[in-house]
């Protein structure tokens, strides 16, 4: 029976003319293992998302999708959720909860399955996937491979009849990818689950899949078994052919339909042994760059020892390693063996506790070392690729020179077509190139790359390889760590193992891989004892005189950007800065300090002076505000779109608070006598917090909004737990204010109070937790109310001023809390004393919050707005 039948499916994204999917028709049989392949950007992900209504992107759809004989649009959401399992690419982003058991239970919980059934299902799935030992582990502690298995397991727990996977193994290392695919194959064989998988490398899939669909630019090019696909791709000279297994790549050229195309290395080797019998082999030679004997290495590590903590084992153990200019060195090795640690040590991010790291001087200056991280998104800051590259230059450079350098760099990396796009809208390969471009603008002498080709399709891979060659030719020392040994064999000048904390076996790729037996490229394994010295598919093809695929287009040579940014405080160029906002902030904080001191001083003397002082301070502050808002060039106002209408509970929340609080006080006085402030005030804080939480519980909040709220909560927690601008100053208040302003008052309260509760799970709860939850919640709530008004100016000044006052408000709630917690008498003098002692830290808190908001509020809100707009979170009216 057909489980899916797709008829003339077309799909166009909004604001685009060219359809991403163009008149697709195919069907999927029940129990089939179908692979859809194509280069990135061919529309395969869009196709998969069209197979489940809840994931279907916004856009215009034509044609029909039938699921189990019925149109998909008529199949209700519940059936779809149960029957169609979907696993996405990123192992990290798909997990929802914090523990493994909770993640497994998440799906059944959604479908209202009773607890005792969930217990049985979790047990079953944990046994099948081998999770019994990690059931109570935190998800953040799992490896990437384990996370992706968990994602598969938490989909499988709903017992779907069809499993859709969107490049599930592209982010995993080869060993984890293989484990994943084997398990997937087991599920497919043992339970008859239909599997639809899309992937741009066919290396690992070919032996398991029944059928392959080749997509190209939104159309289906070919459909057939792996064998037929290999023949087709070879004949049509498709770049995808290079993503077939090595054995198929070599033999497709020389079989002429006589034999079956072998898909495994073993079969390939038998074929090759037969084939070379009759023909004359060409000798395989390689040209690797080799520095002269005299040349000094640019990086030299000697006997380096490193460990992360005093009581953990060494990660680098007596490591010795050198690298020269103009050379590409590839370091391979097992997962988690410390390769990234090595790169970070070279980049001077981590510091060894023993050993010597020397860097060769270049024209008297120490060389610039840049690191391209595994995740290119760690580098992106601005809203378009071009702007992001421009941000690499500090302001003291000539703007023309900057744009010129950026233009050259875009050309070099082949990014001209996408320079106006948002970095996050690019494909994985393009993102990697954009990140490389940004790093190159700093003019590195040593370029460190961490898994540069992870998740790339074959075309991007070869482009990256060519780029690295250009760089090496221009005299850059390139050091990369990679699991992709074929890439290393193809492009590196030297390869090495990373094992047991040291770099071993450094040698040119040909001798390195042809000597290895177990850790080697598939091509080298095939060619062992048959074609000496051959380590890549191209080597073998060259040896047996088979045509090679066309090389990539010409690339302009790499020119060192002369205008690279001043690095890490090398030279400082003084710039004129607009100082007067800073002066105003300073002035206002000094004013407040004076105010606090004076007021305290005047406290017991003449009350009239106190009032005069109050009025004077308030007028001064008003003047300050007017000066700020009446600037000649008005600050840029940002527009914030409403996320949703308020839940309609605000009135009942306030009524509840207004009735519950007096009753509590009354009961407190009757029962305990009015001296028990601590207990009563705790109750009051709870009563003020609970209605907001209950309203959230009642509201029908959309999933994406819930996730946004959780992200903002987590941001605030991160701000408190790991982020410090200066010691003891944390931008948590600022984050809560931004959340309130961009997500609305009620969400603001929620973000404030939940982030306090959760960060106290990390820091330790105390009697202060309810006060903190309430005070921070109020901050977010007020921010939502004030910035929710369309008439209120929303620029960096208004955010800064609001931030200052809300930090004071937070202190205003927490200071009496301190009296109550210390159980002292609640008297006028007491309160004043605590406010006075609390004011200086509050003012510092206020100033830091104001400064943070002044710099960050507008750009951050713009980033949140982009997500709100892109993913349709905006309320229509």
């Amino acid at each position: 029976m057909e489980i899916y039948k797709i008829e003339h499916l077309s799909f166009t994204y909004p604001n685009q003319d060219v359809p991403v999917l163009n008149d697709l028709s195919f069907s999927v049989e029940e129990g089939e293992f179908l692979t859809i392949c194509g280069l990135s950007g061919c529309g395969k992900s869009t196709l998969l998302r069209n197979l489940k209504t809840s994931l279907c992107p916004h856009g215009k759809t034509c044609g029909n999708v039938f699921f189990m004989g019925r149109p998909l649009s008529d199949t209700d959401q519940l059936t779809q959720a149960e029957q169609i399992g979907f696993v996405m690419q990123s192992p990290d982003d798909q997990t929802v909860t914090d523990k493994v058991w909770h993640e497994l239970a998440f799906g059944p919980e959604n479908l209202g399955v009773p607890s005792y059934v969930i217990r049985r299902k979790v047990a079953e799935i944990a046994l099948f996937f081998g999770f019994t030992n990690i059931m109570y582990n935190k998800i953040s502690e799992l490896s990437g491979g384990q996370k992706q298995l968990l994602n598969l397991a938490s989909v499988m727990i709903q017992e779907p009849s069809v499993l859709i996977l969107d490049e599930p193994v592209s982010q995993l290392d080869p060993a984890a990818a293989e484990e994943f695919i084997i398990l997937l194959d087991k599920i497919h064989r043992e339970f008859g689950t239909t599997v639809i998988l899309c992937e741009h490398t066919l290396e690992q899939i070919c032996t398991y899949t029944d059928r392959i669909i080749v997509m190209n630019a939104g159309k289906i090019d070919f459909e057939g078994t792996p064998q037929e696909t290999a023949k087709y791709l070879y004949r049509s000279n498709d770049p995808l052919f290079e993503s077939m297994p090595v054995s198929a790549r070599i033999t497709a050229a020389c079989t002429n339909d006589r034999y079956d195309i072998p898909m495994t290395v073993g079969e390939g080797k038998r074929f090759l042994t037969d084939y070379v019998d009759g023909i004359k082999l060409k000798e395989v030679t390689h040209e690797y760059y080799k520095p002269t004997e005299k040349e000094k290495p640019i990086i030299k590590l000697k006997n380096i020892f490193f460990r992360y903590k005093k009581d953990t084992p060494d990660v680098l153990k007596g490591l010795s390693f050198s690298a020269w200019k103009g050379e590409i060195t590839a370091i391979t090795g097992g997962n988690g063996s410390g390769k990234t640690t090595l790169l970070k040590t070279i980049a001077d991010i981590l510091h060894p506790y023993s050993g010597l790291l020397t860097v060769g001087k270049k024209e008297g200056k120490s060389p610039k070392i840049c690191l391209l991280p595994q995740d290119p998104r760690n580098l992106f800051l601005k809203e378009s690729v071009e702007q992001d590259l421009l941000s690499a230059f500090s302001g003291d450079k000539n703007p023309d020179e900057c744009t010129d350098a950026v233009k050259r760099m875009l050309e070099f990396c082949g990014l001209e077509d996408v320079k106006y796009r948002h970095p996050y809208d690019l494909s994985g390969g393009e993102q990697q190139k954009a990140a490389l471009a940004k790093v190159l603008l700093y003019g590195p002498d040593v370029l460190l790359l961490d898994e540069p080709v992870k998740g790339m399709d074959v075309r991007s891979k070869s482009e990256t390889g060519e780029m690295l060659r250009c760089l090496a030719k221009a005299g850059v020392c390139v050091i990369m760590v990679s699991h992709d040994i074929e890439f290393c064999a193809e492009y590196a000048d030297r390869c090495a193992f990373f094992f047991d904390g040291d770099v071993v076996g450094t040698a040119p790729p040909d001798s390195f891989f042809s000597k290895n037996t177990f850790f080697t490229t598939p091509a080298a394994a095939m060619a062992k004892n048959v074609i000496p010295n051959a380590v890549t598919a191209n080597d073998i093809r060259r040896a047996i005189s088979v045509s090679l695929p066309d090389k990539a287009e010409n690339r302009p040579p790499f020119v060192f950007p002369k205008t690279g940014m001043t690095a890490q405080g090398e030279t400082k160029i003084k710039r004129k800065t607009k100082t007067y906002p800073k002066i105003l902030f300073f002035f206002s904080s000094v004013l407040f300090l004076f105010y606090a001191v004076l007021r305290h001083f005047f406290e017991t003397t003449i009350p009239i002076k106190k009032t005069v002082l109050d009025i004077a301070v308030i007028t001064l502050l008003l003047i300050f505000l007017i000066v700020l808002s009446g600037k000649k060039s008005p600050a840029e106002n940002i527009s914030i779109r409403r996320v949703k209408q308020s839940s309609g509970y605000i009135a009942s929340e306030i009524i509840f608070i207004l009735t519950a609080v007096p009753i509590t006080i009354f009961i407190g006085i009757i029962c305990f006598g009015d001296a028990k402030y601590l207990f009563i005030s705790l109750l009051i804080m709870l009563e003020c917090t609970v209605p907001f939480l209950a309203a959230f519980e009642k509201s029908h909040i959309r999933t994406r909004e819930l996730v946004l709220i959780a992200v903002m909560c987590a941001m605030a927690v991160t701000a408190r737990a790991a982020f410090y601008m200066f010691p003891q100053l944390k931008p948590i208040t600022a984050i809560v204010i931004i959340a309130g302003a961009s997500l609305g008052a009620e969400s603001g309260f929620l973000v404030g109070s939940v982030s306090m509760l959760v960060s106290n799970i990390l820091f330790g709860q105390g009697p202060w937790t309810p006060w903190q939850m309430f005070a921070m919640g109020m901050t977010g709530f007020l921010s939502g109310i004030i910035f929710g008004r369309s008439s209120f100016p929303k620029n960096k000044y208004s955010f800064a001023v609001f931030g200052f006052f809300s930090a004071l408000l937070y202190g205003g709630i927490m200071n009496p809390a301190a009296i109550i917690m210390s159980h002292m008498e609640l008297s006028y003098g007491n309160i004043i004393a605590f406010y006075a002692t609390g004011l200086p830290p509050d003012v510092v808190h206020g100033v830091s919050t104001a400064l943070f908001l002044f710099l960050a509020a507008v750009p951050m809100i713009r980033k949140i707005e982009r997500v709100k707009l892109k993913y349709g979170l905006i309320c229509e009216n």
């Binding site: 489940k52 994931l55 959401q77 519940l78 169609i84 979907f86 996405m88 798909q94 929802v96 909860t97 914090d98 909770h102 998440f106 799906g107 919980e109 959604n110 479908l111 009773p114 969930i118 979790v122 109570y136 998800i139 953040s140 994602n151 989909v155 709903q158 991010i349 690191l371 760690n378 996050y424 700093y442 890490q568 405080g569 207990f679 819930l706 996730v707 959780a710 992200v711 909560c713 987590a714 927690v717 790991a722 982020f723 200066f726 929620l750 939940v754 959760v758 799970i761 330790g764 709860q765 917690m821 210390s822 159980h823 002292m824 008297s827 007491n830 004393a833 710099l855 960050a856 951050m860």
Partner: protein, 295 residues
Amino acid sequence: METGFGRFHPAAALLYFVSVLTVTMVIMNPVLLIISCAAAVLNIAYFGGINAVFHYLKLTFFTSVMIIVINPLISHKGITILLYLPDGNPLTLESVIFGIAAAVMMSCIFAWFYTINRVFTSDKIICLFGNFMPKIALLISMTLNFAEKFIIKLRDVRAVQSTIGIDTAKGSLMKRLKNSVTIFSIMIQWAMESSVDTADSMKSRGYGLKKRTSYTVYRIFPRDIIMLVFILICDALILTAFRSGAVNYSYYPSFSFGIQIINIAVYFIFAALCLMPLLINIREDGKWKYIRSNI
């Protein structure tokens, strides 16, 4: 892995701590305070050893001293006047004693929170919320997941950015602040964009289609019921004694101290309540030792 008292159902643990803290806070009877304080400190010693106790004493020392000093300076109630302060107000013995009692009470609460933080793991908090506020429970769980991811990510971003001159540890204050904002911008952009996948994954797994159930790893065993009943009985006895005025203790205008049978009974009941987790833990440890020696 949770052991001893930590293996009880979160509801039992919650009731237990609420009872102990309420009695400690509401009845400021010196004997009860001392019992509570002793039990809390013993708990710290059990969980964290003698070093934890010292650390805790260091933390509470200054606050306690501050309360002891400030209270008699502000409060002038009481009849036993020791001396007159420079501003003409009297310093009374009662206010000094009350200050000490308040300081002890505050340190005592802090000490209990050490145990509470050990016992109330995130799983327990989520389980408690899950029963009556499943959405908040989910939100807490998601926040924990994201926060752990973000903290790891923040470390990475900071390391990478420091190689291209965006350093949060070096440079002038303004420079560091600006760099911090840059790093936070990168973080928020990444978090926002990757959250879209999370939302898709939730929707794909049927979130929001039906009323959610809340699964928890905690089940109610007979021992949880026994525990709940025990705590409730203790509470009821102490409350009765409190209502009858027997254990009430007033510091102002003058403090009084009398020993009655009912008082001693209440002290014993409260001591039993306070020491219970410790006894359960020690008993379990003993059992393990016994089992091992029998193997």
